[in-house]
């Protein structure tokens, strides 16, 4: 044990000064030296659980679980497609994925398995995301602790528990929460590898702690598995993979140029990279097939989702996405107001004057900026790709950086609690509005809409929907309905029967879909009488007789 190891990497203070906040780093073999001798013997689990930060994280997990279980919305189109695919036999699902979808199959495989185990009810199909959404809370704590200290980790966990966007995707039957969990794990593993290798992105490294300068088995296994998982979950997860690989390259080059031993770390990196590449080979074939199919059908990268700026992207698009990441989905007007608060960013920039960010902060900023920059570049080609969910790996990191800003500026533990609570209040306001406001453009109430039709439709009636992608969600909520996609010249029923028209204006493209609906409405108006016109969040049902 050296004096350096006894010192707090952040303050240089001896460990006897330390409260739980920012406690000494785990140095594995040195733990018994770092911690004061207990006056009464407790088991390691009890000791761990009775630490204040553990209690905070535990509380965050409990509250976060409750928030994620309160699901105020039905599934929407993409979720219904996920469920439809997962209901198929596994081989058929993979084939469907390859020919009709644009995503890798890892999440769908999980959904396929969970569906076989617990069914495809609304709660059941959301359960994998809910579990992942809860899991990310302690993982965020671990990442914060690994990057900075326990106090930062605890604040991160609290923020992540309440983060509206994380709650949103914890309730969505899609792959984004899995992407975020894998992203956090991969970052954690890389930080641990670097620290154990003596790189020390933050404070003194622990190269002397017996890891031979390469990081040890577990971090490398976690890193390799999660990195491969990122790619197999969402193609845009590759942005984080690229960033992390670049970090390894830079670290190795710097070590080599400084004539420091890089061999063991380089070897471990090469082995890991080879394994990752090996897993990417079949994925590349799949991706090529999906891309070819979508190019041939003129769809490229999937459906258009209306956002704050669906026409072109610019700096406000970046701010909108960052605002979504922090405060969740809200009405376009609310988002425009929030984005207008950008002078706060100037204040933050000014506040950084005179402070020297730690290398680990640059690392985390890089983990945020890289996906944004790359998605922005891609968004120049296809603007609706520049959306927070495709770069959702940045969201937990944003909250970690926020937590770090709090713990870096605020010294007092009490003030830290107050500031954190203030942030939680802001997040709660955002969460409530996101989950309940009918003006949230991401909220679709297909459940109520289809149930209305299902309850009223009789034999001989005709149910139309538009856009055509609604087949999945109509099929999920109204499996007995013989609904069909609306054409410009729809067949009409015989006298006395009704026509139901389900539309989702925000999902329709501005030309074909709109023209078809307008034409159909004209024809239906000539045919019969509009007897009911009901609006649900982002869904409209018209009934003609």
């Amino acid at each position: 044990m050296t004096y350096d190891l006894l010192q707090d990497p952040a303050t240089g203070a001896a460990p006897t000064d330390r409260s739980d906040s920012g406690g000494p780093r785990e140095t594995e073999g040195d733990r018994s030296v770092l911690e004061p001798a207990p006056t009464r013997r407790r088991g390691p689990l009890a000791t761990l659980l009775l630490q204040p930060t553990s209690l905070v994280v535990l509380g965050a997990v409990v509250v976060g679980t409750v928030l994620r279980l309160l699901v105020p919305r039905g599934i929407w189109l993409d979720e219904a497609i996920s469920v439809h695919d997962a209901r198929l036999p596994y081989g058929a699902m993979l084939h469907t994925q390859a020919t009709t979808d644009v995503h890798p199959p890892l999440y769908f495989t999980i959904l396929w398995l969970s569906g076989r185990a617990i069914g495809f009810g609304e709660f059941a199909i959301r359960l994998p995301s809910i579990i992942l959404g809860v899991t990310i809370i302690p993982l965020a704590y671990l990442l914060g602790k690994e990057a900075y200290d326990r106090r930062t980790g605890a604040v991160t966990a609290v923020l992540v528990a309440f983060a509206p966007l994380l709650v949103w995707y914890s309730q969505e039957t899609r792959m984004y929460m899995l992407l975020m969990v894998l992203g956090v794990c991969a970052l954690w593993a890389q930080l641990r590898i670097l620290r154990r290798s003596g790189v020390g992105l933050d404070g003194p490294a622990i190269a002397q702690s017996g890891w031979g300068g390469w990081g040890g088995w577990w971090p490398w296994i976690v890193y390799t598995v999660c990195t491969a998982g990122l790619a197999w979950t969402q193609y845009f997860g590759l942005w984080q993979v690229a960033f992390q690989q670049a970090v390894f390259v830079v670290v190795l080059v710097v070590r080599w140029r400084r004539h420091r031993s890089a061999g063991p770390l380089a070897l471990a990196w090469v082995v890991s990279a080879v394994i990752i590449l090996a897993t990417l080979v079949p994925l590349a074939a799949l991706a090529h097939q999906q891309f070819s199919v979508h190019q041939s059908t003129g769809q490229a990268f999937g459906v258009t989702v209306k956002g704050a700026d669906s026409g072109s992207i610019g700096i406000y698009s970046v701010l909108t996405n960052v605002a979504w990441g922090f405060i969740g989905y809200h009405s376009d007007a609310a988002m425009a107001t929030m984005v207008a608060l950008w002078p706060v960013g100037m204040l933050i920039a000014l506040g950084l004057l005179g402070r020297r960010p730690r290398p680990v902060s640059f690392y985390l900023v890089g983990a945020v900026v890289t996906p944004i920059a790359l998605m922005f570049a891609l968004g120049m080609l296809k603007s609706n790709l520049f959306e927070i969910r495709y770069m959702s790996t940045i969201v937990p990191v944003l909250f970690l950086l926020t937590a770090r800003a709090v713990t870096a500026v605020v010294v007092s533990q009490r003030v830290t609690v107050i500031v954190t609570l203030a942030l939680v209040v802001v997040l709660c306001v955002g969460l409530v509005d996101q989950q309940t406001s009918s003006t949230n453009p991401r909220r679709y109430d297909f459940r109520e809409a289809v149930h209305l039709v299902d309850a009223q439709a009789r034999p001989g009636d005709i149910v139309y929907f538009r856009p055509s992608d609604l087949w999945s969600v109509v099929g999920y909520y109204g499996p007995g309905l013989h609904a069909r996609s609306l054409s410009a010249d729809p067949p009409l029923p015989s006298d006395g029967h009704r026509v139901f028209l389900i539309t989702s204006p925000s999902l329709m493209d501005g030309t074909t879909d709109q023209a078809a609906v307008t034409s159909a409405i004209d024809e239906l108006g000539a045919y019969g009488v509009l007897i009911e016109d009901r609006s649900f969040p982002n869904v409209r049902v018209r009934v003609y007789k």
């Binding site: 207008a340 706060v344 005179g354």
Partner: protein, 562 residues
């Protein structure tokens, strides 16, 4: 420190070298190495061209006719932005030429005779004592210390006698500090003259670090940094010190590289021949050092800046002192503008002097920037066409961000947010100074207090308080009219200004609040001071104070001043 029955102010300080509690000004500070500055220079080689490009990107966009919203506001905004661009160009140009001088041995002619002048007005003895004591220990010359007492205090005469210094008291008190110095110059004869304000404690190696440059007969003076040793005792002193660190770091290094470093009133050594040629220190000016430098440069003399802390002083510890100091500097430098314009200086030097003087007009632009959100909220008028908000951000943000990084880098991380906020919050000083100079109102030389008042001083920051009130009122009014994106943007701007102003005047609102060193957002690192004096006492730790990380904590596992 001894305290007699008659009160501490009249008591003589004990020899600092014998005290158990060392004076702050004798404690060591960290050394910023030449390699550190080379790193700064390398980064500026990237940042300055980038800043130029981004400023073009912004101004080409800003100056297009379709940007005009309210013509009057637009005109004012453009004027302010152009002025600040002019200042920024001066800053980039100056810092680009940063220069570090190597150590140079003492003049070959042997140990020079040096008169050390310490002008005193009404400062406490415990401030003056360590300065006199340290001055008598300066090596590298035949040093004669002169205590120039403008108040005729017997205890100062006693103090001088204790340390073998000469006590000089003039019968008439004209010309303030310059007059005091000139009076002493007439009664001293050494070919070199070193001047220290009475709160600036010189290091023993002061002459060893500076006199080598006097081998060049064209060098009129060698200036060294002003470093505030009390930078860590209060938020205000930390901020003021940070402002000094930016000037005596990146800016002074650049001025030296351009041959344009001017004398800064203390911690310098002069060649008497140069002083004589210029007719001594100008007595009509509030910034006698600035005008003296101008005269000397005009006559072809050269100046040298040694970027090495060889003396430590005390920064203003209360807002009133800070305001008085800034007012004096602002009025002095602004009143020198006509002389600069009509001088025979080469264009390079003239521009350097102009940049330094015109800086004190910045308060007008700060006031405008702070007023615009309120005007927009109250009247709906705005300088730029409303449809260009996203474009404004796209063009302004990179310029703003990179300029900020350039300031941070040029100051080697020494310039803090508190320093910036203090500057902004005292915008009104420069406005008042401009008015006084334009209307030729005479000013008096007010000595900056070396010991601060301990209570709140809201009276010293009334204009900033008024601006806060205006902005808060505007914000509430705007929000009461409905929360549109435009209102939100202007309220956010208003709150940005309110935050900056509040932080800037915080010390005046709460009074003198010594805080733990690690809690202060003080500069990461400050330049070096020779540590012999402190080490010789044997009572201080020689471990350097390390830089600050994002916690405001000392970086690394170093010790610190104990």
């Amino acid at each position: 420190m001894t305290v007699d029955d008659s009160g501490s102010d009249r008591s003589l300080p004990a020899d600092p070298a014998m005290s158990d509690v060392p004076d702050l000004r004798t404690l060591p500070v960290v050394a910023r190495t030449a390699e550190d500055w080379r790193t700064v220079d390398r980064r500026l080689r990237v940042l300055v061209p980038l800043s130029v490009l981004l400023s073009l990107w912004y101004f080409v966009w800003l100056l297009r006719p379709e940007r005009v919203g309210n013509p009057v506001l637009y005109g004012l905004l453009v004027a302010a932005e152009v002025f600040n661009l002019f200042q920024a160009i001066g800053f980039w140009w100056t810092c680009w030429h940063g220069r570090d001088r190597p150590d140079v041995p003492l003049p070959a002619a042997g140990m020079p005779d040096v008169d050390v002048l310490i002008p005193v007005y009404n400062e406490p003895l415990d401030v003056v004592g360590p300065t006199v004591a340290a001055a008598t220990r300066i090596r590298g010359g035949q040093v004669a210390v002169h205590l120039l007492d403008d108040a005729g205090r017997p205890e100062l005469e006693e103090l001088a006698a204790r340390y073998g210094a000469r006590y000089i008291h003039r019968p008439e008190h004209t010309g303030a500090k310059a007059g005091n110095l000139n009076y002493a110059l007439d009664r001293t004869t050494a070919p070199f003259v070193a001047v220290f304000d009475c709160d600036h404690v010189p290091a023993p190696g002061f002459l060893e670090g500076t006199m080598g440059w006097m081998d060049d007969a064209e060098v009129a003076f060698v200036q060294t940094p002003q470093h505030y040793a009390n930078d860590h005792v209060d938020r205000l002193t930390a901020a003021a010190s940070s402002q000094q660190a930016l000037f005596f770091g990146g800016i002074a290094r650049g001025k030296d590289g351009l041959g344009a470093m001017f004398c800064c009133g203390t911690n310098f050594v002069f060649r008497r021949a140069a002083l004589d040629e210029a007719g001594g220190f100008p007595e009509h000016s509030l910034t006698e050092d600035f005008e003296l430098s101008l005269r000397l440069h005009e006559r072809g003399w050269r100046s040298v800046y040694v970027n090495k802390v060889l003396a430590q002083g005390l920064g203003p510890e209360d807002m009133r002192s800070y305001v008085s100091q800034q007012q004096r500097w602002a009025r002095g430098c602004l009143s020198a503008i006509p002389a600069i314009i009509t001088s025979d200086l080469p264009a390079r030097l003239r521009m350097q002097y102009l940049f330094s003087s015109l800086f004190f007009l910045s308060g007008w632009t700060f006031a405008l920037y702070m007023t615009i959100p309120a005007v927009r909220i109250f009247t709906g008028a705005q300088p730029l066409a409303s449809a260009t908000a996203a474009q404004f951000l796209l063009h302004f943000a990179p310029y703003f961000g990179v300029s900020l990084v350039a300031v941070a880098v040029a100051g080697a991380g020494a310039y803090t947010f508190d320093a910036f906020a203090l500057l902004i919050a005292n915008f009104w000083i420069q406005i008042v100074a401009t008015v006084f100079v334009v209307f030729r109102r005479t000013g008096t030389f007010v000595v900056t207090a070396k010991r601060g008042a301990t209570g709140p001083q809201p009276g010293a920051v009334i204009p900033a308080l008024a601006m806060i009130l205006l902005l808060v009122t505007a914000s509430f009014y705007g929000l009461s009219q409905g929360l549109t994106a435009a209102i939100a943007n202007n309220v956010a701007f208003a709150l940005l200004h309110v935050t900056v102003l509040t932080i800037g005047i915080w010390s005046a609102l709460v009074g003198y609040r010594p805080v733990a060193r690690h809690q202060l957002p003080v500069p990461q690192e400050v330049p070096s001071i020779e540590v012999e004096a402190a080490v010789e006492t044997g009572v201080v730790d020689t471990d350097p104070v390390r830089g600050r990380d994002e916690d405001g904590q000392p970086a690394g596992a170093g010790g610190g001043v104990r």
